[in-house]
């Protein structure tokens, strides 16, 4: 799966814990209004607050009617989502129309 070159890409940090939430929010807000692919290839773990940020970003992009997709979901990322009550599908369905 190769992202569309016109899209912007945000690479997530390896550790998405409390400390990562604020910078992640800032990065996302800076890219608001553009089609965005979030690259999770480095993610080792994700906690509740970064999950909130990503979920909120999904909502926001959806409200803006802009495309947002996730790519390269690592086992660590998927396991974190599973623990927090989400599945891989919750984060990949946006890709389907693309």
């Amino acid at each position: 799966m190769t992202p569309d070159p016109s899209q912007r890409i945000l690479e997530l940090a390896a550790v998405l814990d409390l400390r990562a939430a604020a910078p992640l929010t800032e990065s996302l807000l800076a890219m608001r209004g553009t089609a965005l692919t979030i690259d999770a290839s480095r993610v080792e773990r994700i906690g509740g607050q970064c999950l909130q940020v990503l979920l909120s970003a999904q909502q926001t992009w959806s409200a803006d009617e802009t495309a947002l997709s996730f790519t390269n979901l690592t086992p660590g990322f998927v396991e974190g989502l599973r623990l927090l009550g989400f599945s891989q599908a919750d984060f990949t369905r946006e890709e389907m129309p693309e």
Binding site: G48, S56, L83
Partner: protein
């Protein structure tokens, strides 16, 4: 002290108790007496410390406790055999845990290298070795993912059978701010059984309005587990107060948590509702609640503990605190108890005064008033005994620190030591307990460092390589006697004597008995170690030990047998609040002589009293001459010498067994008196230990027998050689 500091103080007090439990349990395990209850108690102790430390964000402590707890869990599960090697690591881990608690309390740091070494040792013990536990260790500082198959490795719960619970969990921002993590909590929860998690994100704002460090999500879990609600609550114990949490059993068939569960639920629900009403309170206020709750839980578990085994089975590890018949305790402020003791002391004095007034008013013994007073006296004594019993504590609290000390000193000196303790349940007043630690520590150090020989020396002498230090406590004639005995080489008397002579403490040609030589080590400035070791020789000699014991109204003595070892014996009053004394009159003053020092009283005869010049006199008592001390002159009540023939001599004995006769005018009688400190009410008076108030309302001074004798002898050192010759 603010509320938070008070809670923290309580936490550290509880830590002390938990550490004591831990040590006791580990030692029992080391002796091979580990029952499942013991292992559970040990696990729980570490777990409780971890829990409390988590609430106060004491990171180092939490991390180490977690690794320790994980290893203990393997022992509990039977995955790790508690061999001698394993227990050695565990004991050292307990020592470090105690240091970390102390460090957290006093705000200083603990050598992180030491912590790392022990963490490595503990993890190496875990089945699966360092790899399996590295993850465990890691997840406290941060969090990491574990493949699902591994997550269930240590879990002893079959995933399906059991009861279902619906749990709702909504973290507050404080939860994250304190370094806790929902993902971790959920993973722990998953270990209990089969978990279905759903997340409600409906409260989530758009990104622009989102506070990245806020908390908007709410989780609902359905957990099917064989464990009880206690086990579930335990998962949430670090985060419960920074979140909204409900736990509801979904089906009604289980009877697992009937009594304890519902009481606890009600209590927890009440607290939660209070907390929900006051969400605006600062986080610290919310933190105040968990500790009392934890106690409440234990109390409930204890009350509900019948039969203990059944409870243990229902509650899993919670069963450890469910020892049937365990005494219930309350925690009371010591100041309140002291105030009560003070008041009872006043009551005793007041009652004595009343008795005296009644007698003076002409009521004869046997009259209704006198009989009523007798009853009052009886009751007063009983109250006094009961109040004293409140302050009484088992010496266990002091003895418990000794095994660690022995390990450390043995390690430093390269000696092999086995500690045997006896009579840990012996009770003594708290003030005595509090001041017992330092002298005892020094005596134990001394016994290992100076008393025991090195293993090779012992083997050469035909002894086992491992030396024995025996620490025992017992009650003997109204006092507590604590003995520290070693099976070492005994006191090297010729060396002790040579050193004492070299230091000018005795004349080079002095003729001394074995006992006198042994007692030389108590002289100020005496130290037998040719080079000052960093164990015994910390600038504290046995003279300081002796003085501190004397200041408690105690005595310290030594017996030693060459090649067999030495025994230090300290004898202390059971309480510093009352004293049995002999009330005497000296120059119209009423004084009290502590009964423990008195051997006999006698009426001096003219033929027995001999003057030695300089006002010094001796009295012949049977075959020995004993210094006769005129108490009135010694304390400055009069300047002229008393006529011994018109007075009474009280034969007393000092620490070293040296006897003197105190000359007093008359003896009034023997009674128990309430000790009133002179230092705190007036100032220190040489020769006077304390004061008391008598029935007639007058203050009577309590004589410090040792000081009076020491002073009189420093006045007349010339006596010594004369007496030696005479004796």
């Amino acid at each position: 002290m603010d509320a938070m500091a008070a809670v923290k103080q309580t936490f550290f007090q509880e830590c002390e108790e938990q550490l004591a439990e831990l040590e006791t349990g580990l030692l029992a395990m080391e002796r091979g007496e580990a029952e499942s209850d013991t292992v559970n108690a040990v696990f729980r102790a570490v777990h409780s410390i971890k829990g409390g430390a988590g609430a106060f964000s004491l990171g180092d402590l939490v991390q180490f406790a977690h690794v320790f707890e994980t290893t203990l869990d393997h022992v509990r599960n039977g995955a790790l055999e508690p061999t001698a090697d394993v227990m050695a690591v565990m004991l050292r881990a307990a020592d470090l845990l105690a240091d970390l608690v102390a460090a957290a309390r006093d705000g200083h740091a603990v050598d992180s290298g030491r912590s790392e070494v022990l963490v490595a040792e503990l993890t190496a013990l875990s089945p699966g070795g360092a790899d399996a536990s590295a993850e465990e260790e890691d997840d406290m500082s941060d969090f990491s993912f574990t493949p699902v198959s591994v997550a269930f490795d240590f879990s002893d719960t079959p995933a399906v059978a059991g009861r279902s619970y619906t749990i709702t969990f909504k973290p507050r921002p404080e939860l994250y701010a304190k370094g806790n993590e929902t993902a971790l909590v959920l993973r722990e929860l998953e270990r209990l059984g089969q978990l279905e998690t759903s997340c409600d994100a409906s409260g989530l704002p758009q990104l622009a309005e989102l506070d990245p460090e806020g908390a908007y999500l709410e989780w609902t879990m359905r957990l099917t587990t064989e464990k009880g609600e206690d086990a579930i609550r335990e998962v949430f114990e670090f985060v419960e107060w920074d979140s909204s949490l409900t736990i509801q059993a979904s089906d009604a068939d289980g009877d697992a948590d009937s009594g304890a569960g519902s009481t606890e639920d009600a209590f927890a629900a009440l607290l939660r509702s209070i907390q929900a009403d006051e969400t605006s309170l600062p986080a610290t206020t919310a933190d105040i609640i968990p500790l009392p709750l934890a106690e409440e839980r234990e109390a409930v578990a204890e009350i509900d503990a019948q039969p203990a085994k059944a409870v243990a089975a229902r509650n899993g590890e919670g069963g450890a605190n469910a020892n049937a018949g365990a005494p219930q305790t309350i925690r009371a402020d010591l100041e309140r108890v002291d105030r009560l003791i003070d008041l009872v002391g006043e009551l005793v004095i007041n009652q004595a005064m009343l008795s005296q007034r009644v007698m003076e008013a002409g009521h004869v013994p046997g009259s209704a008033v006198a009989l009523g007073l007798d009853e009052l006296e009886h009751l007063t004594r009983e109250i006094q005994d009961c109040v004293m019993a409140i302050r009484a504590q088992a010496v266990k609290s002091v003895f418990q620190r000794i095994p660690r000390l022995v390990r450390e000193v043995a390690g430093m000196t390269g000696k092999q030591v086995r500690l045997i303790t006896d009579g840990e349940g012996t009770e003594v007043d708290k003030t005595v307990i509090d001041r017992l630690n330092d002298p005892l520590t020094h005596m134990i150090r001394n016994a290992i460092d100076h008393g025991l020989e090195k293993p090779e020396v012992r083997v050469a002498a035909g002894k086992p390589a491992e030396g024995v230090v025996r620490l025992s406590a017992m009650h003997r004639s109204g006092r507590i006697v604590i003995e520290v005995a070693d099976d070492g080489a005994g006191i090297n008397r010729s060396r002790v004597k040579a050193i004492a002579a070299e230091k000018g403490l005795i004349a080079a040609d002095a003729v001394l008995s074995d006992e006198e030589i042994d007692n030389l080590i108590f002289l100020p400035g005496f130290s037998t170690a040719s080079e000052v070791s960093n164990i015994s020789g910390r600038g504290v000699g046995m003279d300081v030990v002796k003085r501190s014991i004397q200041s408690l109204g105690g005595r310290l003595s030594i017996t030693s047998r060459p090649g067999k070892g030495s025994t230090f014996t300290m004898s202390l009053p059971l309480t510093l609040a009352v004293l049995d004394g002999m009330v005497v009159t000296v120059a119209d003053q009423t004084l009290v002589v502590p009964l423990t020092a008195i051997i006999e009283t006698l009426q001096p005869k003219a033929a027995d009293v001999h003057g030695l010049g300089g006002g010094a006199r001796v009295i012949a008592i049977r075959d020995t001459f004993t210094p006769l001390i005129d108490v009135g002159r010694e304390l400055g009540f009069r300047t002229t010498a008393t006529d011994p023939l018109a007075a009474v001599a009280i034969l007393v004995e000092t620490e070293g067994g040296r006897r003197s006769a105190l000359l007093v005018d008359t003896i009034q009688g023997q009674r128990q008196v309430v000790i009133k400190s002179l230092e705190s009410n007036y100032r220190h008076v040489p020769g006077i230990a304390a004061a008391t108030i008598l029935g007639d309302g007058r203050v009577a001074l309590i004589i410090d027998v040792d000081t009076v004798i020491a002073n009189s002898q420093s006045d007349a050192t010339i006596l010594e050689p004369v007496l030696a010759a005479a004796g």
